[in-house]
Each structure stands twice: as C-alpha cells, then as structure tokens.
C-alpha cells in the first residue's frame, strides 16, 4: 500500500519533472512573444510617399515611388494609412505605349502601378505647402480623410521622397523647392505635436545626404541614395517606353524588399548595405545618431510593414434579437461616441479586424480586437 503510494508519488514527481522543461519552454515562448510584442513600442504604421517631378522624362521618379508603395502595401499597410503624392500621371499619359501600367524593369516584368492603386495627391496638388501641411497636420477642415496623415505618438512613419534635388534642397514640379532646414523644422513640429513614435526618412535624389544633415528631432533614421557632391543615377532605359524606368538606388531597394515578407526578421543594417558603390555608382548614406534603438534591433517591417497587435479577450457578448439592448450596451461601451458617427468605411475593415468569429447557434460572439481600434477613437478628435 505504502509502496504503491510512494510509487505513484514518484511517478507523478517524475512526470512533473519531465513536464517541467516543456512548461518552462512554453513559458519562455510566451516570454519571447511578450518581449517581441513590446519591443518597438509602436502600434500603427503610416507611409508618406512623395514623387516631386513632372513631365514624361521623369517617369523613373513615379516608378520609384510606386515601387515603394507596392512594397508597403504588400507588407500590410492599408491604403487608408498611405498618403501617396504623385506629381504627374505617367500611367495614363498619352505617351505611354501601355496605358494604365508603370513598369520598373525593362522587358516589362513588374507593373508597379497595379490594379488597386489610390493616389491621394495628384498633379498640381503636389506642392511644398501641401506636403508640409500633411506632415504637420495643419490642414484645412474640408480636407477629406484620405488626404490626411492621422498619426499619433505611437505611429511609425515612413517618408520616402524622390525627384530632382541639389545640395540642401529638393525641387517640386520644376517651380518651387523645399530646403533641408524647412524639412527639419517640419519634423520638429511633428515631434512636438507627438505625431510620430519613430520616423524613417528615405530620399533618392542627387546629393540626397544633404537633406538629412539638418535634422535635430529625436527618433529619426535617414537614408539617402548619394552623398553631397554626388549624383544619383538612373538604372536602365527601356526602348519601348523610351525613358529610364527607375533609379538605381530604389531599384536595388525594391529587389531587397521583394524578399521581405510580413514575418521576416531582417533588420536595418541589411538595408544600409543595399546598393554598394559598385552597383549604384553613388555612395548611399545613412544617419542613425538621432535614433534611440540600435539599427540591428530595428526590423524592416517596423516601418515597411504594418503591425497588427492582437489582444485576446475572454469576455463574450451575447447577441440578442432585441437591438435596443445591443444599442444601449454599445453606447455605454463607447461612451461619448455616438453610434452614427462611427465610420464603417470599407477602407477601415482591414485595419480593424483580423478575425471575427460569429457563432449563430449560440448567439454569442467572441471578438479579437486590435489595439489600432483605440487609434480610431483617438482619430475622432481631428
């Protein structure tokens, strides 16, 4: 009797000892997940992609911007979080031999324009004033939502600019310029208004490094395609289209980004190595002294992809046929926000929901909600 007791106790302790590493393994896995969860500190991603050049021979600048747009969309940032500014229309230009396409590679391999593109600022709307207003948020009240940068203090913003530039300035549409001092001041305004958590600034112009020399706000990382005194060169012309299709730096960045998927762990140091002098002819530069984290801990998807933080809840809400009860419950939950003010626009669907499982048989719903939903409520203040 006692022997069997001891035996059973021994067996249970043995089983416990055997299961302990599994338990600790599971615990460490959860810890890993939790650590990753909290690593970067941002809850949503935005992208502002600007092409500043007009006229057909600047086809490559539009192709540059659309390549970054395509990568950013592919890695998860929705159109509602992308502000795309294209200063001219290349796809439906009468000189384009293949309408509604913008190619990035000769032999027409990759159509970066795609079938599902939304351009927010087009043609004459791409001006220095509009760009600075988008960044700082000082926008006239009649501006529609898709043209606003509604970021908050937990947003990681990617800003990509391309066009013709010089030492300390970038030319907008051949009629005006933005200087590096104006840009640095705009970023400082953004910092003081808490409009970003971290900012990645990429510029592909001649003498691009001059544009990030004057930044002085924290949490900004900058990359440029060439140093001061160097020109950024274009990649290859296409005989059918008749102009150069892309710039070298963005071409190799696109090749690099095509290999990233939303789960990849590639970090910024790899992005700094893209396009060495042998391929790019110019020397790409970068600036990380204002950035608090070490670049090797910064994932590419922190800026190019979109984070979907999931909070799992165990509380269930049961759906009653009586809608009055539901409405009052919703109103109490939402507080001051009126039911009819909530916009269920299709563009927010991908942002809001990762999964909703509806179980009609039990008339109960369990919902997994994104933290970005909190962002939505904050946005109502604007």
């Amino acid at each position: 009797m006692v022997d069997t007791c001891f035996l059973s106790q021994g067996l249970t302790t043995l089983a416990g000892l055997l299961l302990l590493p599994f338990g600790s393994l599971a615990a460490s896995q959860i810890e890993d997940q939790a650590e990753q969860f909290f690593r970067s500190g941002h809850t949503n991603n935005w992208a502002v992609l600007v092409c500043t050049s007009r006229f057909w021979f600047n086809y490559r600048h539009v192709a540059n911007t659309l390549s970054v747009y395509r990568s950013v969309k592919r890695l998860g940032i929705p159109d509602s979080h992308i502000v795309l500014m294209l200063a001219d229309d290349m796809a439906c230009n009468p000189r384009n031999p293949k309408p509604a396409t913008v190619y990035s590679h000769k032999n027409m391999e990759l159509n970066v324009y795609g079938d599902d593109v939304e351009v927010d600022y087009r043609s004459y709307e791409v001006t220095v004033e509009n760009f600075l207003r988008v960044l700082t948020g000082r926008i006239p009240s009649s501006t529609p939502r898709s043209k606003r940068l509604l970021s908050d203090d937990r947003s990681n913003i990617l800003i990509y600019m391309t066009g013709h530039g010089g030492n300390g300035f970038l030319k907008f549409q051949d009629s005006e310029e933005i200087t590096n001092i104006e840009l640095a001041d705009a970023f400082e305004q953004m910092w003081q208004k808490r409009r970003y958590n971290e900012l990645l600034f990429i510029i592909d112009t001649c003498q691009g490094a001059s544009m990030y020399e004057r930044f002085y706000s924290p949490n900004i990382m900058a990359l440029a395609s060439s140093q001061v005194g160097e020109d950024s060169l274009s990649h290859q012309p296409d005989p059918a289209v008749g102009v150069h299709l892309m710039d070298r730096y963005t071409f190799y960045v696109l090749e690099f980004l095509e290999e990233i998927n939303p789960a990849s762990q590639t970090n910024m140091n790899d992005l700094f190595q893209v396009c060495p002098k042998s391929l790019c002819v110019s020397t790409p530069g970068h600036r990380t002294d204002l950035f608090q984290r070490d670049p090797k801990n910064v994932l590419i998807t922190d800026f190019f992809g979109s984070v979907r933080k999931v909070e799992i809840t165990t509380e269930t809400l049961s759906l009653q046929p009586d809608s009055g009860v539901i409405e009052s419950r919703i109103i109490t939950i939402l507080g001051n926000h009126q039911l009819e003010d909530i916009c269920f626009c299709k563009s927010y669907k991908s942002l809001f929901l990762s999964q909703v499982s509806l179980d009609y048989s039990r008339s109960s719903v369990s919902i997994q909600i994104l933290d970005s939903a909190r962002l939505f409520l904050k946005k109502k203040k604007y």
Binding site: A91, A100, P144, Q173, I326, T332, F344, C345, V356, L377
Partner: protein, 602 residues
C-alpha cells in the same frame, strides 16, 4: 473605462437575417447590364450600367443600415441635402459624327453638377465641401473646383429625377477639363459596386484593358425616382455607368471581329448574386435580318426590339441569371464574326452634332467658334447651347454672331415667362422653344467665369456657326501652373436638345425597360433628349519667362559690382607708394652716418 474601450462590438454589414431587425430595413435592388454596340466606323462601344435602387427616404428617416447602396454616397446625400448628384470622369472624346449619338456623353476631364434641396441655406459652402469630399472618395483633384470654374446654368441642366420646383439658385455646375482619369479613379468606383469586381459584369472591369481605349468615361448619377407608377413615394436611384470605345485597329489588330475575351481579357462566369437582373445586350440592328453578314456566337435566346434614340434597334439578349447561358461548367464569351465584309455604305449621320475650335493668331486675341450641324432633311429644332469660358479669356459679347446658311440667326432677347411646373421633368422647356432665350453673365476677374446660354433654332439641313472674339489676359506670376507652356483649357460647350425621332417611341414602363432606355425621362414620343459636348479647347496664354528674375538679379549685381564698385574704389581709396626695403646692417650704418651729415639716405 479602458476595459470598456478595449472591448467594443463592431457592427458589420450583416447580410443574413440575423440582423438587428427592428423595423424592416428599406429594400434595395441591383440591376446590372452591359450594352455592346458596334459603331459605324468599325470600333466597338461597350457601356456598363449598374443601377441600385433604394426604397428609402433618406431625408426623413435616420438610416443606419446600408446594404447595396454604398454608405459613402448615402451619407453624402443626407449630410449635404442633395437632391441630385452627377459626377463623371472622362478620358477622350466621343466623336458623334462618326460614332453616332451616345447614350450618355460626358465632357473630357471631370464634370460635377448637383441640385441641392431647398432647405440648404448656403449653397456655395455646401458645394465647396461636397467637391472636397468627392475628391477624397474618387481620388480626383475635385478640390480645385471653386468659384472661378463654377457656374449656375439657368436653363440647360434641369433635374433628371423627380423635382418639385426648379429654382436654379440650388444648381451648381463645374468642369475641370485638365483632370486625368486613370486606375486610381477606377479603383474607388469599383469599390462602390455591391459585387465589387468579384462577380457578375464587373469582372470585366480590368484597368489595363479599359484605359487602352479611345474613349473612357465613368460616372456616378444619383437621383430620386418614383417608387411605383402612381408615384406615391420616392426611392433613391444610383447609377454607375462606364462607357468605353475600343479602337478596332489598336486592340483588334485590324480585324473587325471581336469577342469579350479579346476586348476585356476576361469572360463572364457567373452573375452577381446580389443582382436582380444581369444582362448583356448586343446591338445587331442593321444585320438582324440578314444572317449572312455576321454571326453572333453563342446564338441569343431572346432578342429585344425597341425605339432607341429615335431609331428602331434590335438587340440580342444574354441573361446571366439564366442557367442556359452561364453556368458552372460554361462561361460566356460573346463573339461577333463578320462572314463577309459589310458593304461600303455611308454610315448613318446623326441629326445633331457639333464642333468647336479656336482661331486667330498671336497671343493677344482670338476667336471661339462653335459649329452646330443639323442634318435632318426637313425638320428644324432648337438647341440650348451653354458656354462657360474662364475669366482670363475676356469675351467681347458685342462680337457674338450666329449665322446659319449664310444669314444671321439671332436668338430673340425677350425674357422668358415663368411657366407652371410641368408634370414630368422636361429637359428643354417647351414654352421657351417658341421664343428666344439668351442669358449672359460676364466674368469677374479671379472670381467667376463667363456664362453664356442661348436657345438657337437650327434650320433644317444646315450648319450654324456661333462665334465670339476674345482677348487673352496676363496672369499674375503665381497663378501660372507648373507647366504653363502646355496651355490652358476651356471647358466644352454643352448642347441640350430634343432631336426629332425617325420612329415614334411608345412610352414604356420605367422599371421594365432596359437601363439604357431609361437614362433620360421622355415625355414626347416624337423626339428624344440628347446632351452633347464639344471638344475642350487648349489656349496658349502669354507666358513670362520664369527664369528672368534670377537672370535679372545676376546681371544687375554683376553690373553694379563691376562698374560702380570700380568707381567707388577709385574715388575713395587713398594710394601710398611704398619703397621696397633692401640691404643689411652695413647699409643701415651708412644711412645713419649720412643722416648725421644731412645727406639723403641710400
């Protein structure tokens, strides 16, 4: 609070009966149709129409449940108290002379016109906000619509839906001829469709095929309609139309045979499950009887005959909801093959078409001319011409001349009598056709454009020329666009007319007839309403050389520095002659001795 905020319930569009279901939600229905018309010139025109009818009175009921009617547009109607909204985005030009009268033409660029309800207090403010909201929804630069390109037409744009009164102060019309249309405008347009390019006719909407065309026009029309024949209550109708014209030589490689697959690179596999009707009509009019000229494959199960745009036409009908036409095992790819080339007969010329051009030389003055063609052999009919010219082309109204057949044809200037509201919406007020009508609103610099509306009687079988001279203004430096040497656009003229029909139409039931037959309500069966647009014009304005300020500054500073600077130096500097010092210690001792003696030093 944090917990409550964290956990909240998102209400999606519940497509099943497990909805909130307090009161019966308003019913809505979708009809979609595609009309394929071979044009006299050998090209092929395809017109898509998606019509959602929503039995709800938006103004009075508080709506929270949107099913087929898109929420973005429904909220627009209630927020801005719209009665009607018409927005079109067009690339290309419909050549009426060679292609025939269109079902629905739109001017090149963007056109927006809206009727507001009588309850709106500040129409201009609502108009500005409306154009901004629409620019966000459709990714178009409609925010450039402001008072310099908005006009209030007084006779041309009557309501196309139900209307109680027609006080024109609630109408606004604007055209942006410079607007580009591309995939970014098609994408949000497609997203408004209930089946959204996944099923039904909208799978054919692929951007790379639709923009490789001579003419591409997409439009959104919202208007109130009668819910039933007795018109006891009002429904809202949303029509999304898309017209394209495929160039036979570019897309067909020179052959006139066409098929759905060759035009759209897709075939039809299933109807939209949300649609009440989903049909394809193919125009087989001139060749219906004679089966040896062409063959339509697959052979149609039914045909439809009616008087469309004044002539009798026959259509082959393919109903996608019919399992014999489209099923899981079979997709629909309509093909048209020419068995022998059609005889070289002259294509039928439409009774009304127009042309417009700028003449003159130099950059100071010019002349705008519009030619109106009436090719009917014996009937004369009136045409309402609306011209909206930007303020920087200063029109000289005293040079306005209208000549038909060499003789002057002046619209009488008597003011129109106010008429009682007609029972059905009319498009050219019948009472005005007997008198003349002319309305001119001069431009104010930087504030409003010229507006000229005239009712012109076109004699039978004639060409009428309307011409007016203008002078070009010099703009301020900042008002030029970044590419000013391209030129500046003048928006197209609008012609609204009731053209006499060849065959009298019998008024049919609105709901039963196909969509392309119910675009414009017809009250008089002996004529049909048509609205045509002319080409937009490109006018060069005197453009300064923008690099001149920089050049002047450089030159002036150089001149000042060289000339004045030299003189200044010459006049104000004192000059001293300095001996070079040479020699060593011996020389200095010798100079000391010589100074003691009183002799000049070495």
């Amino acid at each position: 609070m944090a917990a409550a905020v964290r956990i909240f319930l998102l209400v999606l569009l519940l497509l099943g009966p497990g909805g909130w279901g307090q009161a019966e939600p308003p019913r809505d229905s979708l009809r979609e149709e595609l009309v394929i018309t071979p044009l006299p010139s050998g090209d092929v025109a395809a017109t898509f129409q998606f019509r959602t009818r929503w039995d709800s009175e938006l103004q009075r009921e508080w709506v929270s449940h949107y099913r087929l009617f898109p929420k973005a547009l429904g909220q627009l109607i209630s927020k801005y108290s719209l009665r009607e909204l018409h927005l079109s985005l067009t690339q290309g030009f419909w050549r009426t002379r060679y292609w025939g009268t269109p079902f629905l033409q739109a001017p090149s660029g963007a056109e927006l016109w809206a009727w507001f309800q009588e309850t709106v207090t500040d129409v201009d403010e609502s108009w500005k906000e409306l154009s901004n909201v629409l620019s966000g929804i459709f990714c178009a630069s409609l925010n450039f619509i402001d008072s310099t390109n908005t006009v209030t037409p007084t006779a041309s744009f009557k309501p196309l839906g139900l209307a109680n009164g027609t006080d024109h102060s609630f109408l606004r019309y604007a055209v942006l001829p410079r607007e580009v249309v591309c995939t970014e405008n098609l994408t949000p347009w497609k997203k408004l469709l209930p089946c959204s390019s996944k099923a039904g006719l909208s799978v054919l909407l692929k951007a790379d095929r639709l923009f490789h065309t001579s003419y591409h026009s997409q439009a959104v029309h919202i208007r109130p309609v009668c819910r039933n024949a007795r018109c006891t209550s009002v429904s809202w109708e949303l029509r999304q139309t898309l017209s394209v014209v495929f160039d036979a030589f570019v897309t067909g490689q020179g052959k006139k045979d066409w098929s759905l697959f060759r035009m759209f690179s897709r075939t039809l596999t299933e109807p939209c499950p949300l649609a009440l009707e989903s049909r394809v009509y193919v125009d087989i009019t001139s060749y219906g009887q004679d089966n040896e000229t062409l063959e339509v494959y697959p052979p149609p199960l039914t045909t439809y005959q009616d008087v469309i745009l004044g002539t009798r036409k026959t259509y082959a009908v393919y109903d996608l909801l019919d399992a014999a036409v489209v099923s899981n095992s079979r997709s629909l790819n309509i093909q048209l093959k020419w068995k022998r080339p059609p005889e070289n007969e002259a294509p039928p010329v439409p009774f009304l078409y127009a042309q417009r051009y700028v003449s003159g030389y130099g950059l100071q003055s010019g002349e705008l001319s519009t030619l109106l063609y009436n090719t009917h052999p014996y009937r004369a009919f009136p045409v309402l011409l609306l011209d909206s010219v930007p303020w920087y082309l200063r029109l000289y109204v005293h040079t306005l001349t209208i000549t038909s057949k060499g003789k002057e044809n002046k619209p009488s200037e008597r003011s129109p009598q106010p008429a009682p509201p007609p029972p059905l919406p009319l498009h050219v007020p019948q009472h005005l056709s007997s008198q003349g009508y002319i309305h001119y609103q001069p431009a104010q610099d930087r504030m409003q454009p010229h507006l000229l509306e005239m009712l012109i009687q076109l004699p039978a079988n004639s060409i009428t020329k309307v011409s007016i001279q203008f002078e070009r203004a010099l703009l301020k430096w900042t008002e030029y666009t970044p590419d000013p040497n391209h030129g500046f656009y003048v928006s197209p003229s609008v012609l609204s007319a009731l053209v006499p029909s060849v065959v009298a139409a019998k008024p049919g039931d609105w709901e039963e007839s196909p969509l392309f037959n119910s675009l414009f309500p017809v009250s008089d069966s002996s004529s049909y309403f048509v609205r045509l647009y002319t080409e937009p014009l490109l006018v060069s304005l005197p453009t300064p050389d923008f690099s001149m300020p920089y050049n002047v500054v450089c030159l002036t500073c150089t001149v000042v520095a060289v000339c004045y600077g030299s003189f200044y130096n010459l006049l104000t500097r004192t000059f001293q002659i300095e001996e070079p010092r040479k020699g060593g210690l011996a020389k200095r001792l010798a100079n000391l001795v010589r100074r003691a003696r009183g002799v000049p030093p070495l």
